[in-house]
Symmetry: C2
Subunit: 339 residues, 2 copies
């Protein structure tokens, strides 16, 4: 069934049906009613594909993420899906699995599908350059969380430096004088910034960070667990352990438990992201919260803006994270934050 069927039943032209149903253009109240009743009676449902071909708008945006399994990414996807839904936009989800070539394929595939925009969390600060740049020439692209070095494309994320300052200040206030760090060795923007600014703030706060107390692996629970075991083997523990992701911190917490290290008494631990489980592990995790709803909202807004604006100046939006203090860095409260 097509609009032609509806047109015949309503006694109007296909043009009028299109105008009435899509809401674009002017239709008299009587004809509009005739069309809608005919459409309902027939159970007509409209062909988005044909509409997309003719109007060159799909009302769909593609999203490419490096990892579905990561709870932080899942939360972000969820928020993006929600915002898109409110705008009547469909989400096309792709998983690059940390693989730049797979990321490239996903981008070209989504562009072939004529998505109206692209939300990308790039895999690598350099390897992702060409593919994302190419994509951005055919459709609006906004980077979320991670960003690519030297690429003049929109980005929404958090201020990683601020986040690290919040963490180091907190440790300082607790009297911490030495600390270890577990991060990612992936070549992505936030991994580097988190490490660099951690070191910088620690130095200026008089917190000692031994070279052998810096561990770089992956954003995974296993990495946290393994790194902590290495930390133990390397000699006396520092006062605190700063993790560049909650999943890492959770792994470290696990290892502390099995190695009978008491947190925060023997070792203070902090995370990053504030995934749901940071508030559910034992002890609950001190971390910095990423404003995911805001990131999702701005990402979609930027996409929509760059669709309409003629010459769109690129936007770099670094939102502020917030410190969430829990038991992994302080004595347990009776009534804690259970949000």
């Amino acid at each position: 069934m097509t609009i032609k069927t509806v047109a015949e039943h309503a006694g109007v032209s296909t043009a009028t049906v299109s105008r009435a149903l899509s809401g674009t253009g002017i239709v008299s109240p009587e004809l509009r009613r005739a069309v809608t009743t005919a459409a309902e009676k027939l159970g007509y449902s409209g062909n988005t594909v044909a509409s997309a071909l003719r109007s060159s708008r799909t009302n769909a945006v593609g999203m490419v993420i490096p990892e579905i399994a990561n709870p932080f990414m899942t939360d972000l996807v969820q928020e993006v899906e929600e915002v898109l839904h409110l705008n009547g936009i469909q989400l096309l989800l792709c998983n690059s699995r940390q693989d730049p070539s797979r990321e490239r394929d996903a981008l070209t595939s989504l562009i072939a599908r004529r998505v109206d925009g692209l939300i990308v969390c790039p895999v690598d600060a350099t390897s992702s350059f060409a593919a994302v740049q190419a994509a951005s020439r055919s459709v609006p692209v906004v980077q979320v969380d991670q960003r690519i070095d030297g690429l003049d494309a929109d980005w929404v994320g958090i201020n990683d430096e601020t986040a690290m300052r919040l963490i180091v200040d907190h440790l300082s206030s607790l009297g911490v004088s030495s600390a270890a760090f577990i991060g990612s060795k992936e070549n992505d923007s936030s991994s580097r910034i988190r490490l660099d600014s951690f070191l910088a703030y620690a130095t200026s706060a008089g917190i000692e960070v031994a070279k052998e107390h810096i561990f770089l692996g992956r954003y995974s629970v296993v990495c946290g667990r393994e790194s902590l075991k290495q930390l133990i083997d390397s000699g006396p523990l520092p006062d605190a352990l700063v993790c560049a992701a909650d999943v890492i911190a959770v792994g470290a917490l696990q290892a502390c438990h099995s190695e009978k290290i008491s947190v925060p008494k023997d070792l203070i631990i902090t995370g990053f992201d504030d995934i749901e489980f940071a508030n559910l592990c034992t002890p609950r995790l001190t971390t910095v919260r990423q404003p995911l709803k805001a990131i999702a909202k701005h990402a979609v807004d930027i996409l929509r803006a760059s669709q309409t604006e003629q010459d769109h100046a690129s936007v770099q939006l670094a939102l502020s994270p917030t410190l969430v203090v829990r038991e992994s860095s302080k004595a347990a409260d009776i009534e804690g934050d259970t949000a």
Copy 2:
């Protein structure tokens, strides 16, 4: 740029370009080479929308799930995305948020987009009936995990009865003589089956289940935590607690920790699903593992089969879960399962 551009550059007709690039039809090696080189030189990338309109195949399937935040669902989505990707199919993801009306909207929207198939985890065993049935009239639909009562549509999931038998047998072998249960009060297929078969097997195994020891809430960590507190308030603890989902069990574990209840010494706890965290919490969780890869694989296979088959007889595929025994139901090993 269109195939026409490529055709002109290659000195052939648009039909030949179409045949050469899509792989359908017969093209001589020389012309094929001429076309591909022209396409590459121009950086041509086809228009999936036009192709879909003409061929009425989108190479996309829609997936509607009740909850993105649930790690079990995320894992399932990941596996489905992987299988689809291997088949060159794009995933269109929708979140029904446990809301039947939102589920209906998602289904009609995906059908308007002319997806080649639909993978649905229905929200409600009865309320979802009409929308899913309607959808199945225009496109192949396969239900995953949950299924709708009395709907003659394909389904892939696990045998929940078998799962409960595995759990109850395990408890029996541990000498458990009384047990509590936390499940979901949602009207979905597996919630009911899990409760019913738990009670049946428990009875025949001589395990006592007091009425006030059956808690029905949601599949969430909070539900597990709250229910456990109620369990404590209700008097002496039973020997074991059976949870209908890992997320519930994790919440119960949390509450045990804060209430100084030792697991498994004071209370044996079992979960359901084997999400990643079941192997990362303390103590690690005994649970039944769902074969997600197999579920995803079969779901896509069934979809593809029902696209080609003329009269497709509906498939009900109940895969076997496996019991995974960990420390929440036994004394801790030094070297446990770290898979």
